[in-house]
């Protein structure tokens, strides 16, 4: 049965976990309401999501977080609040970082390089596994993508 792409008006209002591979690396990204690249198809992606969420319940792998990028985002967020005069003491920067990286860390623990997608269509790595432990059967289900099909910032 042929697969379909996500409808653009659905993708625009959702923040979807999407998966693909380049070479021997497995990638996840959060769509952040942005257009879904054409190499992601809906039915295949939902099947992969289901398999990944099942793995997440007992995943314990170590991950590296892209601290510089995340800190930059948090500083921008604080500046935004600052501009509407929210007092500095109301910010719990540590908690803001945890809130932001949590879902990406969970994906990295399973074995994906986990990324966020910005409004320019650029992927930003947020968390990476120290060892790739994704089951081979799942890895082979991921759509294979060429490096030149994605812009990783």
């Amino acid at each position: 049965m042929s697969d379909i792409h996500y409808y653009s008006n659905y993708a625009n209002t959702r923040d979807i976990d999407c998966f693909f591979r380049i070479g021997n690396m497995a990638y996840h990204f959060a769509s952040n309401g942005q257009p879904i690249p054409p190499f992601i198809t809906r039915n295949t992606n939902i099947k992969i999501q289901t398999a990944v969420y099942a793995l997440q319940t007992n995943s314990t792998g170590d991950v590296d977080v892209n601290v510089d990028f995340v800190n930059g985002l948090i500083q921008n967020e604080i500046a935004l609040y600052d501009s509407v005069q929210v007092p500095q003491e109301e910010f719990n920067v540590e908690q803001m970082i945890i809130n932001y990286v949590e879902s990406f860390q969970e994906m990295a623990r399973v074995g994906f390089v986990s990324m966020d997608l910005d409004e320019e269509g650029v992927f930003h790595i947020i968390a990476s596994p120290t060892i790739q432990e994704l089951p081979q059967e799942l890895f082979e289900k991921l759509p294979e993508v060429r490096e030149d099909q994605v812009r990783i910032g």
Partner: protein, 147 residues
């Protein structure tokens, strides 16, 4: 920032956590095949005096008939272009943001309120609990401004 808006923001922020819990619970149960987060959540109220009665809603798909029960909002959205379509200068579909969905819920129970008098929290992204800027459609329709 007005204290009332801060209260609305805090409440909306808390709802982000609830949505995350809900999505994660769905995943654990595995009953439903769709586990996607909404892209945004926002709250709307009839006035700052009544911010405690604000209604929080998420971004979601719209069709031409989505706002039939709230003619003033439907007219304001249609002034931008056809509901459910995109216009130049904004990446979002007209009427699909969390703000019009929240506004519709408020206006259904308060039909006499002018669209431009509605008040809003900031919008947040449930996955990360980060603030989202109002889009070009919402700033025009609701007369709201980004920080």
């Amino acid at each position: 920032m007005r204290p009332e808006q801060r209260e609305m923001n805090n409440e909306t922020y808390r709802v982000c956590f609830d949505i995350c819990d809900m999505v994660n619970e769905k995943r654990k149960k595995g009953k439903d095949n769709v586990h996607d987060y909404p892209a945004a959540v926002a709250a709307c109220a009839v006035s700052w005096n009544r911010y405690r009665c604000s209604i929080i809603n998420t971004s979601g798909k719209v069709v031409k008939t989505s706002f039939h029960k709230t003619p003033s909002l439907e007219a304001a959205l249609n002034a931008l272009g056809t509901i459910g379509s995109k216009r130049d200068g904004c990446n979002n579909y007209i009427g699909a943001c969390a703000e019009p969905h929240a506004a519709r819920s408020v206006l259904e129970t308060n039909p006499g309120i002018a669209v431009k008098n509605l008040v809003f929290s900031y919008a947040y992204r449930p996955r990360t609990k980060m603030m989202i800027r109002y889009c070009g459609n919402c700033t025009k329709v609701f007369n709201i401004q980004n920080p």
